[in-house]
Every structure is written in C-alpha cells, then in structure tokens.
Symmetry: C2
Subunit: 318 residues, 2 copies
C-alpha cells in the first residue's frame, strides 16, 4: 500500500535521523576485510539489537509521530526485519504495533517480532494482496502505516548508516554496495553520501529497483518470478519516492544468484565471524562473484542476520 | 615449556600494550544483550582480524623484541588461536614464525596459520610432549619462545581488552567472565581492571586454573581428563606467573560442560549474530547455565570464532 508521499526525503532529514539514532544505538562496526590484497569494509548491521538495519528507519519514523498519532498505533507490512524494527521502536515508545507478515516468513522472524510485543496478522504469499490486508488494518484501527521503503522518514533513517560510515572512514567511500528490496536503504545511502557511488544488489528475478531504473519507470515483479532464498528482498515493486532519489545517483544494479549468496554467507561465517541471512549477504555476494569490482574504498552493507538455524547449518556445511 | 619468568607482568605494562594495540587495531565492539531483563555486555573478540583475542598478546610480545631477536624468529606452541596471533604479528614485522601445533587441531586453524606464512610443526596429542617439541625448535633455530600464557608480555597484551572495556563502559565493570585455558587472559584482565571481579570459565576436567587456585599450587590435568569440544582450552597446567596474579584477585572459577557450551554457541548465533567457537563460548555458557549470576554490569568475553564449519552446523541445527 504505497500512499502519496507526504514529503520528499532530504539529506538534512538523514542528518537529523543520524543524530536521533546516535542517542540510543551505538554505531555498528565497520570491519576491514581483504580480497586479493585489496582492503574493503563491511558495515555490520547484523549487530543491531534486532539483527538488522531496519531499526534505523523505524526509529526515525515512530519517534517523529505526534502524541495523537502515537495513541493510534502503527501498522507495517514486512517479511520480518522491518517488522522487528517497527515492533522494537513501538515497544520503546509505548505504542501498539500491528505487523502484516507473510505466512511463509522465517519462523525466527515471526517469533522475534511476537516477542517484541507486536500483534501479527498473517497473509498468504503469493495469493493475498498484502497491501489490501494492511489497508484493512489501518482503517480498522485508525493506525499510521509505516511502509518498509516508500516513506521519507524510513528512507532517511536507513541513510543514517551512511553518516556513520562517513564518520568511521573519515570520508565518504568511493562506493557502497547494498542489499536491495524496495530501495529504501539504497536511497537513504545516496542522500547520506552524495559523493559515493551506490550499487543496489538484488536477487535474480527480483531486481525491481535495477530494472525500474533501467526502464525509467516502475517495473513490477513477474507473477512467475523465480524462487529466491533472500526472503527479505522480494518486493512486488519499488516506489517512486525511492526511484526519484536513486535516478542519476545509483550505478546500474546487479542481480545475484542463490549460490552466490550462499558463498557470501560462508565467507562471512569463516572470515568475518558474522551470521548473515541470505538477503543480508546479497551485496557481499555481488562483490565476491565479481559483479561489482573489489576496488579499494568499497563498503559492503551486511544488512541482516536473522537466519533460520537449519538453513544456515546447511549453507555452512555445504 | 615454561621458562623462568623474565619479569612480572604489571598494570603499566597492560596500559602500554593497550596503547600499542590501539595504534593498529580498532577496539572490538562491546555489545549489549539482555538476560531476563538484565543488561549484560559481550566483548566481541571474535571480530579481531585473526578471529580471536590472541592477536593482542602476540603483538605486544613480538613488537617489543629487539632487532637482534627479530632476526632469530619466534617459536610458539598453540592449538590454533595463539598460533594465528603470533603468525599475524610475525608477518607484519617481517619475522619468521614456527608454530608447534597438535595434529588434531581444527583444520581451519591449521590452514589459517599456514596462510599467514608461518611454518607449522605437528605433534601428536596425547603422547608427544609439545614442550619438548618446542624446546627442540627453539634450540635448533636459536629462536625466541612466545609462550601462550606463561609470558609477561602475553599476559599484558591480553589485558589490553580490559582497558578497552573500561573505556567503552566509562568504568571498570563489576565482573568479567572469561574463557580460560592457561590463564593468560584472566591474569591480564585482573591487572587491567583492579576493581573488577574476574571469573575464569573452563571446560569440566580441564579447569586447571580453578583447581590450582583452590589447591594453592599447580594442579596438572589428569592423564584421563575427559574429552572436551573446547579445543582452545586444554592446557596441561597453568603457570606460576598467571596464578600469582590471579591469587586473591580471581573469584572461584567455574567449569562448563560441552552441552552448556553448545547452548551458548546457539545463543550467540541467534541473539548476537556472532560465530563463536566452543572455547570462545565458555564464559557465556557459564552465565547462561546460571553458574555465574547474570547481574548487571557483567562483561562476558567471547574470545574466539575459528570454527570447523561441519561441527558448527551440527551445533546450530541441533
């Protein structure tokens, strides 16, 4: 359910979000790693309290709500990480959160969202229209919708990671490669780091941001889009508010396969000692597969670590 | 091969080590986590470049060697993490390193040590006396022995983690729980944080520090000591240089079982998104099992993350 954008996200908004987030969350580490003698950097967003960067946008959005809006509560649609971000922020602010989640979301994400005190409404993917389910909840409860990527606060909040990177490196990096679903993080980083090149990394067949930027308009996922292990990166389409920021600012996106993602998860396990979920490893996958050049001054976003244990075990042992 | 201590480790030495280490390695994150509503802290030493805290003591020791000593090279005995620390420091200083390692050391540790350019000499555990093997190498090469825990520089270097913790918290913590083999880290932390309680956590049957402190003298591991998955925590005995520091400073040590260690590895995977090897999870295991009270202001050291993938997969899926 993409509403009319209330306003355009701005760099000032990103800076304000970064200041608010710095008050409650320590910066996530920017960890060096080497590929064939070249030093690259991994931004370890898996170490956020909810195990994903989504806490940033959710906090910026919810903490900016008026007293009256807070009383009405929030509704979000998410496969699991935005869900936990919104639930975490809502709990901290004493608000009610209702999260619309796909029935096939990883069990760990469903349980973690529930443990944070949110009410969960399930829908069937594919089949049911999650936006219709969300619209029904918004109407029924009079609640505020917090969209996962088509929301100026959410975009600005995600961009706060770029402000941290700039402070940690002492400069804006040459390039930032980011896992990409709807494009909220990529757009936020583009605003945060105006001199950096931004590369969205998406699953093959679900590269709706890359395809939309190439086509010059919204491209929706095909009804027969291939299965992907990146449960966090399956938007039916990106949104104008993200694409407007990325147009002219993003390098061409790249699409990664499940095997490339699994190789990146193994690399993160063995070399970085980090647990990274499939969607969170898409940018690292693009670099390791040579789809983005591993040149100096490249930052790779590791966006989430909420993994199903059995699937992770299979990936690591494989 | 425990030589006569050259000197006593001191707090000033720890401070000097911390300053040297801060020049080349960023502080490892101190990550908050909650147990039943109580806020504790995990010191993520798994995020060191070699995946373990041992880089600290090795760097302090090797970088303090004279030009003449550097020319002769170093010899170390290690099941894998001290090995990588010494190899890493030696490569950075342009020195030759020879590491005596057990033939049954995890393959990942053998390979990582070799990849860092060290020469590896294997011995059979149990059976061959690793100290005799090391003495032979020291004599044959005229090299300097860098003991894994019975060395004042190594103890001071490991203690630098305590200086970082104090800076990160803004105070010395009430209690630090640390995985313990020979006792070098525990002794270093005791020197670094004079007002903190130090609790060594050791595998059942290999709690040579705890037993030695209780007995008032060196207690050696029994020849029929039980098997443990904590490959990094199997010293045949602690050493006077460590016990002298810990006597009167350490709380009674605790001993953890393999099952408790595996539960801690699963907790680190699911909640902290960190890959922690069995020995590295011993302190967390002690807290989760209730053997050390989970009170506020407790720091849990996560000392190493160099895991065999197949074993880790089994632990996570189990």
């Amino acid at each position: 359910m993409i509403q009319e954008p209330i306003r355009t996200p701005t760099r000032d908004g990103v800076l304000r979000a970064a200041a608010k987030i710095a008050e409650i969350l320590p910066p996530t580490p920017l960890l060096p790693f080497d590929i064939e003698g070249t030093r690259l950097w991994a931004k370890a967003e898996v170490l956020q309290p909810i195990g994903a960067f989504k806490i940033r946008g959710a906090w910026h959005r919810l903490s900016d709500l008026s007293e009256e809006e807070r009383g009405r509560g929030v509704v979000a649609v998410s496969s699991g990480n935005h869900a936990q971000g919104v639930a975490w922020a809502a709990r901290r602010l004493g608000m009610k959160a209702t999260i619309v989640m796909p029935r096939d979301a990883p069990k760990v994400k469903l349980e973690a969202t529930r443990a944070l005190g949110a009410e969960i409404v399930l829908y069937d993917r594919p089949g049911e229209d999650r936006d219709e389910v969300a619209a029904r909840e918004v109407e029924r409860r009079g609640a505020v919708l917090v969209h996962a990527f088509a929301d100026p606060w959410v975009i600005e909040g995600q961009g706060s990671a770029g402000i941290e990177i700039t402070e940690q490196l002492g400069r804006e990096p040459f390039r930032i490669v980011a896992p990409c679903g709807g494009g909220g993080l990529s757009a936020g980083l583009a605003l945060a780091c105006p001199s950096s090149r931004i590369v969205p990394a998406e699953p093959v067949g679900w590269d709706m941001v890359g395809q939309s930027l190439a086509a010059g308009g919204i491209v929706r996922a095909a009804p027969d889009a291939p299965a992907t292990i990146c449960d966090a990166l399956q938007p039916t389409a990106s949104a104008p508010i993200d694409l407007d920021v990325l147009r002219g600012r993003s390098e061409p996106g790249v699409a990664v396969t499940d095997d490339e993602v699994r190789a990146a998860q193994r690399f993160a396990f063995a070399r970085l000692k980090l647990v990274v979920e499939p969607g969170g490893a898409a940018a690292l996958a693009a670099v390791l597969a040579g789809k983005v050049p591993a040149v100096a001054d490249t930052v790779v976003m590791l966006t989430g670590g909420n993994c199903d244990p059995a699937s992770f075990a299979q990936t690591i042992a494989g």
